[in-house]
Amino acid sequence: MFTYWRSPVAAWGFVLPSHECKENGIDWDTMFARGLKRKYGDQEEGVEGFGTVPSYCLQRQSLLDMSLVKLQLCHMLVEPNLCRSVLIANTVRQIQEEMSRDGVWHGMAPQNVEQRAPVDRLVSTEILCRTARGTDGEHPPPELEDDPLQSSASELPIVSSTQGQRNPQSSLWEMDNPQENRGSFQKSLDQIFETLENKSPSSVEELFSDVDSSYYDLDTVLTGMMSGTKPSLCNGLDSFAAAPPPPSSTCKSDLAELDHVVEILVET
């Protein structure tokens, strides 16, 4: 039956110029798909293994970073796809749950001795996830007991200065209240700005320390967004072998980029 399909008419429109979309197949893709779980102790091995397959924990962190970027960087002219946002947020939640089960969530970046590091990381994650205004009378206060992210935050006094500690997936898709969505992307950028301005340079380093700047470079991401291509995670991971640029210079350029992005949003 199948061998005799014919086309009586091929109508309507013209063919798009075809361009190949080569997805660089890499070994760690397979690893990820199978969800191999390594023990926490393996993390140190991964750090040493540059040039070979990145460790499970590194990949997991990269996936988390990528997911957070996806949640944040959706084009805001049209309402973002709710299904996509929910699926990405669920993925983020899964990763975070697994990381806290592994005990990795609080203990990441072992070279960082200062107590403030976990809070900064919480703040950065939360800010990255937040796409709506913090002040919203409708929502009840977050349940600190349930959320592994919040539990450590309650111990430290610095937490109170950050507005409205919430589940990172909060109000991501709150579309009922029209006030919330207006300029939400710009608002969250403003918050990043605010946070960065308030902190001393040393803590700004820590803010970005968990993020691999070679992959997560705002410049690359923004360029990618404008031109429609996306930074390839595969390519980004290749540069794991290369030494990352000094954090302070990256932060400064990131600030300049944020400035630039806010400018663009204001103009549109």
Binding site: A11, L16, R34, A89, T91, P178
Partner: protein
């Protein structure tokens, strides 16, 4: 423009397509004639009209796209054809009529002033066929979220529209009211973890409908049970395979399309890697599962990065429910014969589809032996995706939307369904 939906009417005589620019194009099948045997049953453009325009929601400062998400034909009840077309927010009922006569001779007196013979005043004269389309109803302001499905009830009086969190029931003649029959919006939006992805009325039982979710479950609801069908009558869910578990398991289990079989006995679902046939009498698992492109399982992270993993593929039954079809990447589409368990991969492209050419089966090789015309997984073009396909209700004719091209294929040898 990019085609966003394809739908045959109930006889297969008409084929409607909607595109990203809000236009609808209707094709009509030419009647087979002995005079021109080569143009047997080919489809020609019948009518084109602008269904939806872009709008701006001033409250939210967001654009509302004019892209046509779905078109559904109403059963024909008189000489006119009717269809429902919808974008993200507004559903419209369009009436398509033909005019092939026009009245002539209105004046009682002719040009010289003499009275005309009364029998010649105002007669209908033949004219060139004109197809007129007019919007009869506009069903607006029913949805806060984006509409993903519409489905006409078998009672021919009502229809439903579903968005990410709610399903509404409308009467075709009433535009200022609709009834909410499903609402899965949580009291606290922070608790949102699941959305509605597709829904459809049962083809024969006007009280039954099904909706699918982003977590891979199907819920069959009975409108006789309660006014608000939040509580399902049946829940169809396949237990997760622990050996295949990954961070992407949930995303690839999200159902992108659900279709009842013509018989009403089965449901067909499409998730990212498979199509599944479910028996309405068995909720525990599907009765059949077909791999569409399992070779992508090892590439899920790249596909997640490129957002391809969120592509929503549709699926279709043939008229006799013996074959199912769905699209894939690289302009490939797949057909699965449920009886013989054979499957085929075909390609919709200009190069391989000269008129009356026979489509050649394609193969994706995943390492190992590679035949001459095989495509390797790494050279698949993920920008060429076939999301929308349709099958003629009675014959072996299929319509395939490949980005902004429409392909119509016929199986001339086996034109009858079996």
């Amino acid at each position: 423009d990019i085609i966003s939906t394809v739908e045959f009417n109930h006889t297969g005589e008409l084929l409607a397509t909607g595109d990203k620019g809000g236009r609808v194009v209707i094709f009509q099948r030419e009647p087979e004639s002995k005079n021109a045997p080569h143009s047997q049953g080919e489809y020609d453009v019948y009518s084109t009209f602008q269904s939806h325009e872009p709008e701006f929601d001033y409250l939210k400062s967001l654009e509302i796209e004019e892209k046509i998400n779905k078109i559904k034909w109403l059963p024909q009840q008189n000489a006119a054809h009717s269809l429902l077309s919808t974008n993200d927010k507004t559903i419209k009922l369009w009436k398509i009529t033909e005019r092939d006569k026009r009245p002539e001779g209105y004046n009682l007196k002719d040009e010289e002033g003499k009275l005309k013979d009364l029998s010649t005043v105002t007669s209908l004269q033949p004219m060139d066929l004109m197809v007129e389309v007019s919007p009869r109803r506009i069903f607006a302001n029913g949805h806060t979220y984006h509409i993903n499905s519409i489905s006409v009830n078998s009672d021919c009086e009502t229809y439903m529209s579903a968005d990410d969190l709610r399903i509404n029931l409308w009467h075709l003649a009433i535009t200022d009211r609709s009834f909410n029959i499903v609402d899965i919006k949580p009291a606290n939006m922070e608790d949102l973890t699941e959305v509605i992805t597709a829904s459809e009325f049962h083809p024969h039982h006007c009280n039954l409908f099904v909706y699918s979710s982003s977590k891979g479950s199907l819920r069959l609801c009975d409108m006789r049970a309660a006014a608000l069908c939040d509580k399902h009558s049946k829940l169809f869910e396949e237990p997760e395979d622990p050996s295949n578990r990954s961070f992407f398991s949930e995303i690839i289990s999200s159902v992108s399309d659900v279709k009842f079989s013509h018989s009403g006995r089965y449901m067909l679902t499409r998730d990212y890697l498979t199509v599944k046939v479910w028996d309405l009498n068995m909720e525990a698992r599907p009765i059949e599962t077909y791999q569409v492109h399992d070779y992508l399982r090892s590439k899920l992270c790249s596909l997640y990065e490129s957002d391809c993993i969120f592509d929503k593929f549709e699926c279709a039954w043939n008229g006799s429910d013996s074959v199912i079809m769905t699209g894939a990447y690289n302009n490939f589409f797949r057909m699965f014969d449920r009886n013989t368990k054979r499957d085929v991969t075909l390609e919709a492209s200009r190069e391989s589809s000269k008129p009356r050419a026979v489509l050649k089966p394609r193969r994706v090789c995943v390492g190992g032996k590679r035949r001459r015309d095989d495509i390797s997984v790494d050279s698949l073009d993920f920008t060429k995706k076939i999301l929308h396909t349709a099958w003629h209700p009675a014959e072996n004719i299929i319509a395939i939307a490949a980005t902004n091209n429409l392909y119509i294929f016929q199986d001339k040898v086996n034109s009858d369904m079996h």
